[in-house]
Symmetry: C2
Subunit: 462 residues, 2 copies
Amino acid sequence: MYRLTLLLFSLLWTGQMIFGQTQTEEDALFIKSIYDQTLQEGECYHWLEYLTSKIGGRLAGSPASMASVSYTKQVMDTLNLSKTWLQACEVPHWNRGIPEEVRIVNSSQYGSQTLNALALGNSIGTGNLGLTAEVVEVQSLDEVKALGRKVEGKIVFYNRPMDPTQIRTFNAYGGAVDQRVWGAAQAAEFGAVAVLVRSMTTRLDDYPHTGTLVYKDGIKKIPALAISTNDAELLSRLLKKEAVQVYIRNTSEMLSPKMSYNVIGEIKGSEFPDEIILVGGHLDAWDVGEGAHDDGSGCVQSLQVLKTLNDLGYRPKRTIRCVMFMNEENGLGGATAYAEISNKNKEFHLAAIESDAGGFSPRGFSCDADVSVFNEKFKNFYSFLPLLEPYGLLLTKGGAGADINPLKSQKGLLIGLRPDSQRYFDYHHTTIDTFEAVNKRELELGAAAMTSIVYLIDQYGL
Amino acid sequence: MYRLTLLLFSLLWTGQMIFGQTQTEEDALFIKSIYDQTLQEGECYHWLEYLTSKIGGRLAGSPASMASVSYTKQVMDTLNLSKTWLQACEVPHWNRGIPEEVRIVNSSQYGSQTLNALALGNSIGTGNLGLTAEVVEVQSLDEVKALGRKVEGKIVFYNRPMDPTQIRTFNAYGGAVDQRVWGAAQAAEFGAVAVLVRSMTTRLDDYPHTGTLVYKDGIKKIPALAISTNDAELLSRLLKKEAVQVYIRNTSEMLSPKMSYNVIGEIKGSEFPDEIILVGGHLDAWDVGEGAHDDGSGCVQSLQVLKTLNDLGYRPKRTIRCVMFMNEENGLGGATAYAEISNKNKEFHLAAIESDAGGFSPRGFSCDADVSVFNEKFKNFYSFLPLLEPYGLLLTKGGAGADINPLKSQKGLLIGLRPDSQRYFDYHHTTIDTFEAVNKRELELGAAAMTSIVYLIDQYGL
């Protein structure tokens, strides 16, 4: 890596242009100062501590989510920005209810055996009395379709594991999460009474992973719960021997929608104020755990970007805006409202950068854009690589982030921070996604990486 | 990254030679099978659990170190190798004694205040009664020299922090650890009675970090202890206000040297049995904690390399040897004996690969060699990069590993696994370097990375 960097630097130093951009030693020095400042004077870890340990889980519509709006707005107001504001958005308001109960009731080996479970977000409840039915194990949505009415009156148990051989764990997640998102609707279509889903992680452990499900219009809603991977293995073993009846009780319910807020602040650009460079994450988090990696990290990193630039006395040419979106987890209400208002105001986001893949050691950025501009924007962005490689950062094509995706029609570049993904699904949507799971340096390195590309895009455009 | 890889692959597929090596799609498929096998059927995490949770800290000369020799030899004997053996080596036998006590005795603010401390490895003790003296804070060995006899009768407190702005934390360690290694000898030369050293970590926390010190011949040995970074900050604050007296008691002592063992096993090569490819780590670990990242991880990863190759039915052309070295931490007795015997037997290590930088997510390999062969060997090794980049691996120049360094004179390539370094010094030489700190996937990915380069070097030489 260093060799290649040196080679490219030496080309730059001899006055060559690479990919049509001029970069200078000055940029390298400024990026070094960004890292020094963030690693020595960064505040993001302290902000994260408050957001997680003091406020905790903060699903859209909950009192804790409103506390997180107030807190992060207060932090923003200390950052000496040109402007800060709350942007209203409608969000669903789902409530988990009392602790879930999932229990095998008739095992000849275990008798009654409780399973570690969490209702999936947006799920309806079973009612106070719960329900009992026989379990049918499947590996896919297609298998349910093939079984057809054979699942009628049954509990469908989706048990296809995330593929451990995927090096990037998000690819493994992408290959398995259809069961969680669409499993209930698919099973209900053929008369199933409830759904159990193997938790979305490659680990074998006792923590169930919640996450959103989506019902289909015109199809009956049925309760759906995640069970831990250890319990999924257990249930599957028992099903190989005998018919298994499971009792499920959850009192989850969808309440009336609520008003909530995106939290926004910006430093106005001095030369091109209409070109916006957005940094953001999502403020909401599942009600279990503390939403530390998902996505408290992304929020405090985005705040840190503005703080670092201000602390270094940097006056941006373009408008640098931090957006903490509400309701990424179960509705994208904040992201939808933001894009609508932005489009109505004829704004242009030159770049939008989201951190929503955990507060782990950063390994680069993944880029997306409207197909009509992608090649040009990515090529220009790629020209920054020699300045980023010394920090272990690579640039790839791929998805950028759920909250910034609606901005694609503005034809800027969408960029996702890509931290090391190996530990992410150990914590994702569980009770153990807490402050302690985030490492201070790793969090700060992510913030510094984001600040560095904000600086470069601000200097050179795309 | 993927773009570059694709580009290079497309060159390969058109039959081009890169850097004088032919690589094939077959190699890419075999490397994929290495990763699949390791991530699905790897045993290294279970071996690590035994080595850490059951055996724990295992400093050379201790009963636990002998248990680790027995256990890993037993594991090796299950791997269906051509040969396994124990190689005798003499090691120092240092004993920490009863729990250390370090206490500020006269603070006008705190009165008596206990500091979290651990004796440094090889340190002598204060005797049962302990000692009390005034503390002089310094930032460097040079500052002690400048103070000269002013430190006579005093406790010298080395408090230069590891530089948090170093992106690779090992560089920050390298910039601060002279205080721990040579601080006692330097202070003793000018009459100091003991030494306290700020722990080697960028974190602010309460865990003291032990680690080896080296006394100088002809200079009086004085006790030396590490204190936690939080306590170093506290002590430094107090020293700005008033003279501080500290009481130290430790009963550490160096006992008579002992015989111990390197644990070795190999698969004999079918075509070039005299060309050895070594994989290894060190079996000893500090007596506090469980030696999970340092270096249980490296040992079990090295064992996993042989197991994976055997499980895949791979018959190597060259001899693949796993060596778990004894006594890396405080003497290199195992590494010294290994190189001596190897040289005496006129062996040639074509490559030696050490994993001793933690069981974290792998980011590449660092290479070293005798200057007369470095450019050629590195160039040839570098030609493998396109096959490694899809797994997030980079190849750099730099140090390889303390245990394999004595093999440099054989003029093969020395290679160190380079995992992400951000969390390493949170755990290094502390009570919290335990099994729980190691992530199963990250450990396995390191093993798979090592296996992949063993395969490539075995196939193509260097």
